[in-house]
Amino acid sequence: MNEPVVYTEKMKVPSSRLNKMERVWWGTLLPVFLIGVYFIIKGFFMEGMASTYLTDEVPWGAWVAFYIYFIGMSAGSFLLSTLIYGFGMKKYEKIGRAALLSAIVSMITAITFIFLDIGRPDHVFNSIIYWNITSTMAWEIHFYIVYILFLIVELYLSMRGDLIELAKKKNRLAKFYQFLTFGKKEMTKEDEQRDKKRMKILGIIGIPLAILGVHGGTGSIFAVLKAHPFLNSGLFPIIFIMSALVSGTALSISLYVIKNKVLKKPIDTEMVRSLGSLLALFLAIELIMEWYEFLVGTYGLQYEEMQTIGHMTTGPWWWSFWIFQMGFAMIIPLGILFLKRTRTSVNWILTASILTILGVVGVRFNMVVPVFIVPPFEGMPTPNYYPNLSEWVVTFGLIAMFLLLYTLGEKLLPIEEVEYSENGVIEHGK
């Protein structure tokens, strides 16, 4: 006992709850987020919309594109979760709660983006007080509120049993869990049955809410604009939903695979493969729809439509269309998920998913920027738009916020089903 106690690296580990990867993760994302916040205050709150490169000619830009991007992610993740809770597809159960959590976090991020994009944040509640029932946007604002509440209730119900278990533990967070369970002590079989039933009902009500209300509705915000014939088509909201399903599925795959790789946990290869073929299916349907959208659009030979398609495919934004939309979010992942050698490998499926997530950014930009670049009349100068530094920094800050909120959710909440280890200690998310 005379030997002095040597503090080795190993002994320090329990005192710090974060492992190395997590430290790098937080250490990178927090500064990005904080710089974003600084630019929001400096730009948005001090200078207003003048801090962006938006003009009267192109009044919607990067933030709108990212807003619909995250709305799409949310609707896609949620629809994936309804496969599990609404239709009882047990094989995807492992990602059920994660999909709900990412749906909530995506919604929060999307709303933050669009909140930054309005000129008078102090007037924002007018859209609820003076609801214009012919305005698709007013409907959307109402749908978003209902949808977020709905997602929170559903996630809560899905993990209530585990929250009650966690509340029994004696650690710092037990108080937090006790608060979340409203002091409920025991989860009986009846409670479980009732929650399952509630989840099923919510999941099924949620499908029209997410498809028609939230995502089809967001697509309709654009599709009703008769001033822009490229957007003004009945197929547009459906393409919108399709690319939502694509990005939501890709997000769920990536989150699941990356998380388990980082935490060095076994990956359910069967499930990932199955999700991969689901992604391929959604991509194929989207490709067919895009084909008809462009075919019918081009066939009309209408000035604005031709100009828009021209800008998209050969204009200054050509790379967004060919590399991001067609390459990353369509042909390459379809190829990966089609070839036998690659579609069975988890790493290749992950690659396809990440490429899709990146590519859908381009899809969303192409729904906004090339369309508004076209002047309403021949003879008007053709404007252009690129996001400026402030817009990019804020965008990256908010993407960091999205990742941080998701990580926080994973850490604090029993997103993974609680597993009982041999000595009876409950572990979650480890």
Binding site: M49, I118, G119, H123, V124, N126, S127, Y130, S135
Partner: protein, 296 residues
């Protein structure tokens, strides 16, 4: 008195003070040779007419006999005739053959509405068509079309932009949230967003007056103050119409290419010109029904 008033006067006390200073109504009325009771009753009912619980016709019906008895026929007015028929439908006719593309309308509009840099309610589009030697220059002045079915008002989430009975599409800047949905919905590109820019650097006193639109005096133009952050548009110079003046662009047009008037009046100049075979409206296929009519 409220809990936090610390012995200050409340509204009631002030009112009481005022009541004491006012002459006693009964005494004042008694000096008049006419019936005091009738006066009090009429005052009471006049307030009901104002707040809408009594119609003007009923008011006149109720008092006409006692008024005739009191004052004699020549002093008593009849019930004012109810406004029948429609009010004016303001419209503008622009004769493209007369337009020389001088941009006076643009300049006078900017001066009248004091629009900030980069914003112009009225613009003149200029294009050259044809190939040498058969070339022509086309000028197309473009104010807001004040559509009959405005796509902008249809999409506004807060009903901040709406159509008046006289056909003018207006914006309530106090309600607008600045989402710019109306701007992307407008097929004519006739709406602008106030980014908060100012000419103050090059023009002393620019900030003294903010947007005189709709006759609202918003005082000095300042950072973060309305209408910054909201959408603005041409209102056919509504504030000038209220004073009986023409819109600034119509008044200043050097070639007299613009006409302004009431489409509901079949004898007005705009009605007659709108019926001309030269008349057309922009993007008529969209079904927006513009109130700006061009003569080709």
């Amino acid at each position: 008195m409220g809990i936090f008033s610390k012995g200050e006067f409340t509204e009631k006390d002030w009112n009481h003070l005022l009541d004491r200073a006012l002459p006693d109504a009964k005494q004042e009325m008694a000096k008049s040779p006419y019936d005091s009771e009738l006066g009090f009753n009429m005052a009471k009912d006049a307030r009901r007419v104002i707040n809408g619980s009594l119609s003007l016709e009923d008011f006149h019906k109720k008092y006409s006999s006692s008024l005739v008895k009191e004052f004699g026929k020549e002093y008593v007015s009849e019930t004012p005739p109810r406004r029948t028929g429609k009010g004016p439908q303001w419209a503008m006719v622009i004769d493209l053959r007369k337009c020389v593309g001088c941009d006076t309308c643009t300049v006078s509009c900017k001066a009248e509405n004091r629009t900030p840099p980069g914003m112009s309610y009225n613009i003149v589009l200029e294009t050259e068509v044809g190939q040498y030697p058969n070339v022509a220059r086309i000028n197309l002045p473009r104010p807001c079309m004040q559509c009959e079915k405005p796509p902008c008002a249809q999409v506004c989430p807060t009903r901040a932009t709406y159509k008046l009975d006289n056909g003018i599409v207006v914006i309530d800047n106090d309600r607008c949230i600045g989402c710019r949905y109306c701007m992307v919905a407008c097929p004519y590109g006739a709406r602008s967003f106030d980014f908060g820019k100012s000419y103050e650097d090059e023009m002393i006193g620019f900030n003294d007056v903010t947007s005189p639109e709709y006759g609202v005096d918003r005082g000095e133009r300042k950072k973060g103050k309305l209408p910054e952050g909201t959408v603005r548009k041409c209102s056919f110079c509504y504030h000038r119409l209220q004073r009986g003046e023409e819109p600034a662009c119509v008044e200043t047009c050097i070639g007299d290419a613009r006409y302004f008037g009431d489409l509901n009046d079949p004898n007005s100049k705009v009605s007659k010109l709108a019926a001309s075979p030269r008349a057309f409206r922009l993007k008529e296929d969209l079904g927006t029904g513009p109130s700006v009519i061009y003569l080709k």
